[in-house]
Amino acid sequence: MKLHQFTIHELQKKLRGDDTTSAEIVESVIERIDAVEDRIHSYITLLKDSAREEARKADGDIRSGKARPLTGIPIAVKDLICTRGVRTTCGSKILHNFIPPYDATVIEKLRDAGAVIIGKTNMDEFAMGSSTETSHFGATRNPWDLDRIPGGSSGGSATAVAADECIASLGSDTGGSIRQPAALCDVVGMKPTYGRVSRYGLVAFASSLDQIGPFTKDVEDCAIMLNVISGYDPRESTSVPIDVPDFTSFLSGDIRGWTVGIPKEYFIEGIDPEVEAAVRKAIAVVEGLGARCVDVSLPHTEYCLAVYYIVAPAEASSNLARYDGVKYGYRSKEGRDLMEMYKKTRSEGFGTEVKRRIMLGTYALSSGYYDAYYKKASQVRALIKRDFDEAFRSCDAVLTPTSPTPAFRLGEKMDDPLQMYLSDIFTISTNLAGIPGVSVPCGYTAAGLPIGVQFLAAPFEEGKLIRIASAYEKHSGIEKRRPNL
């Protein structure tokens, strides 16, 4: 096995046991990137030079006994997490040249943990999309089938892990943007509870839904990453001051006697039969581990998509107003006066999907429509949250498919936004309710495309997710495959 193929916990052991060095790991990852990146396009910006330097420093730290949880481990970061001195584009022309003078809190945490940042990953423009096709920098391809999309919006972060172009990565999840690409690329992806991981330095798409989370090769790595990035941040008002447990302590426990809810609303018409079969098999595995799987109802599920496509665009329309060509980023050279400069900058700087959502959101907030759309959506959102509160009163976790289908073909849904939006039908509710969710690989289609199962838990119960995901992973009986690149 090559170094780039290992997990964080495996490499930790190798580094501590003096079997390898961070420099060797980083070289191995760079070699891998050089070999496959042309075909996959996981990255917008590669940081080979600084990564090599950070690796040398990490090796020094290891030698002097100062190894921390991620010391020397190459990590990739979605390109909407601000990195000081490194351009942060959000996959958009309008920020193609934006270099933040600050690090996001999660970047500080990664650095404090010793991580080597290997690059900034590709994404749907401003995280708006489910296929990583709306990036100004071109689409990312699924390592399992290069004609297919990797999911989105954190497609690059998913493929970088799936194709071993990094050891783990960070993405962001507003309606499924970590979990759906994780499912489509055969990796583990978690969206933590809203307020668990600081949003400071995460370029906002929809502030009340956005949450940063990890992509990893297995559940143990997920726990390690979660340990590093979680925690209260006084720089973020919506950050929750709550203790962070050691998530790796949940890796060993079993789920005997647990109640796992299976919401009937998530096994609907339109779900791919191979996906449903794989998820049903996962339910059987969970039952085999001593958990009781019960039918639960989340009655407001049918409104999730509608609510999401009011709330998220509304917040986005306001969050994206700052990209006006005045202070940073792209500015059209055409404008002869202020108004024209604004209009041309934004017309030229934003892509179609972003413009569509800005218009949707602007409309939803307009006077005369606010009550019917935004206010109503907020009320229904509260009901959706209540459904989950109700379910978690009797359930330790909820199990659903992550995505209704495996990876679809590039271009297949680009002209049909509604079909594209439906890709997130099983993941959106989590963000609306603010609860944590994790997608774990649960098999392959006959054509060899990965399928994911999603576990959900009550707020701040990421530990339970690690426990059930880990137990499932160990006993799923699925033979781990590698994409043929």
Binding site: S318, D324, K327
Partner: protein, 476 residues
């Protein structure tokens, strides 16, 4: 037909917090452009606002001082519009439910007190400033002011004239400065006012079409602009025309209001709750804590001065015009117990000296205890009122205690009867003609003798004693 004006005012007061409302940058006025700026001020991608609790506290002070009801759960909202001085493309403000409502203030008018309603006070962030190049067709953005905390104080349309508007504004200004939450500087924009004004036939219930007036940066300009605008509307209506709802700017040099240039677009600010900020909970305990820190307010202080100190209302008005002056006065009175005499000194010589130098009472070299001592020295006859004037000026310039000055300059009043009799004898002897005149009934000449005695004693003679002795000694 007789018309009456209907006026409502919106006041924006910058709060005197050290740092901005949502970041740690300084609020200090007059820094180099963009010196007080951070990624949050600049609305950079990914940065987040964190509320400065002091701002809430200051808002609560104003709310309590204007008899508002303070709400327990408060939400910040985004007001969305594009302008280069607004880096985020939205202003963080408050919309649906203000943190303070149902308030009122009483203003003193010539005809008595008038009560003006304050339906809302809310918190928000200030915007930046555009600096226009005088040569090139370029504008520059200065974000120093972005995020400076403001409270917006809205009045009911209870105001019926320009004079009332000015009186109401002065009242708000006075309260804000008394609370020490706003420096009240209108030139620097710390205290700004917009007005909504319409006219209607006197006694009518319905409102006329209103215009909004901006760009009035002094009390005088607010009054002038309103006077102009009321006349302008009246002229239109009387000519059979209709007032157009629009925003008009006061042009100070021409003394007129003019429609704001360019097409007036109907703004839709698309307010919605800011998802980056959490609900601000204001508990009753917090309200009580803030209440304890409230100073006595000017109107109450004025009434107390008149009632307890027994000074005229004019004096009370002057002495309470600032909290520092009132404190100064009260301290001096506490030490010497002579309210009216202290008032005379403060309103007379002290304010004259301070005003001449544009010096603040807080920088005055005369300590209230020194003034009290000086008053005591007059009262006990150590110095005369006349000499006191000289002593006072010296105290003002040098900051020395009155006793020191009196001793140094040998200004102690001559109350030695024998010594004075001797002096008077000499003067009478030297002025036989004047003596003759006095004794023949020209009483005015008495003053001449007083003057001579004072001259001979360099003003140190006790005037009462001089009078008494002269009367006796001049008598035939």
């Amino acid at each position: 037909m007789e018309y009456e004006a209907v006026i409502g005012l919106e006041v924006h007061a910058q709060l005197l917090t050290d740092s901005k409302i949502f970041c740690g940058c300084s609020t200090k006025f007059g820094a180099a452009p963009n010196a007080n700026a951070c990624p949050i001020c600049l609305g950079m991608p990914g940065v987040l606002p964190v509320l400065n609790r002091k701002v809430v506290e200051y808002m609560m002070k104003m709310a309590l001082a204007t008899n508002c009801r303070i709400n327990g759960r408060n939400v910040f909202a985004r007001k969305n519009y594009f302008y280069p001085d607004l880096p985020k493309g939205y202003q963080i403000s408050q919309y649906a439910k203000p943190p303070a409502e149902h308030g009122l203030v009483d203003v003193e008018l010539e005809g008595g007190k008038k009560r003006i309603g304050i339906p809302r006070i809310h918190m928000e962030e200030d915007a930046g400033k555009l600096v226009h190049d005088e040569v090139q067709p370029s504008s520059y953005v200065d974000v120093n002011r972005c995020g400076v905390p403001l409270i917006e104080i809205v009045s009911e349309p209870d105001i019926r004239s320009a004079e009332e508007a000015a009186a109401y504004l002065r009242r708000l200004h006075e309260i804000l400065v008394y609370l020490d939450i706003c420096d009240g500087n209108m030139q620097e924009g710390s205290f700004r006012c917009d007005a909504n004004v319409s006219i209607r036939p006197r006694g009518a219930d319905a409102f006329g079409t209103r215009t909004e007036l901006k760009n009035m940066n002094s009390f005088r300009n607010v009054q002038r602009a309103l006077e102009y605008e009321i006349k302008r509307q009246q002229y239109i209506v009387e000519g059979g025309g209709q007032v157009i709802q629009e925003t008009r700017l006061w042009d100070d040099s021409q003394g007129v209001t003019l429609p704001m240039r360019g097409k007036e677009e109907a703004h839709d600010y698309r307010y919605f709750p800011d998802p980056d900020l959490v609900t601000v909970e204001i508990s009753d305990t917090w309200i009580e804590e803030v209440k304890k820190t409230l100073p006595e307010l000017p109107l109450e202080k004025r009434e107390r001065f008149i009632r307890d100190r027994g000074i005229p209302s004019y004096d009370a008005g002057v002495l309470t015009s600032s909290r520092a002056l009132a404190d100064y006065y009260e301290e001096a009175v506490r030490l010497c117990g002579k309210p009216k005499i202290v008032s005379n000194w403060v309103m007379g010589d002290l304010l004259r000296f301070l005003n001449e130098e544009k010096r603040d009472i807080r920088d005055c070299l005369i300590k209230p205890s020194d003034l009290a001592e000086m008053v005591n020295l007059i009262e006990d006859g150590t110095i005369s009122g006349k000499i006191a004037k000289e002593v006072f000026e010296d105290m003002y310039r040098s900051g020395k205690a009155p006793r020191t000055i009196i001793d140094e300059k040998g200004l102690v009043q001559i109350t030695d009867e024998e010594a004075l009799k001797k002096t008077i004898d000499d003067i009478i002897g030297a002025n036989p003609a004047q003596l003759e005149q006095y004794r023949s009934g020209k009483e005015k000449v008495f003053g001449y003798f007083v003057g001579q005695v004072m001259k001979a004693t360099k003003g140190k003679a006790n005037p009462a004693l001089v009078n008494e002795l002269l009367k006796k000694m001049l008598a035939p």
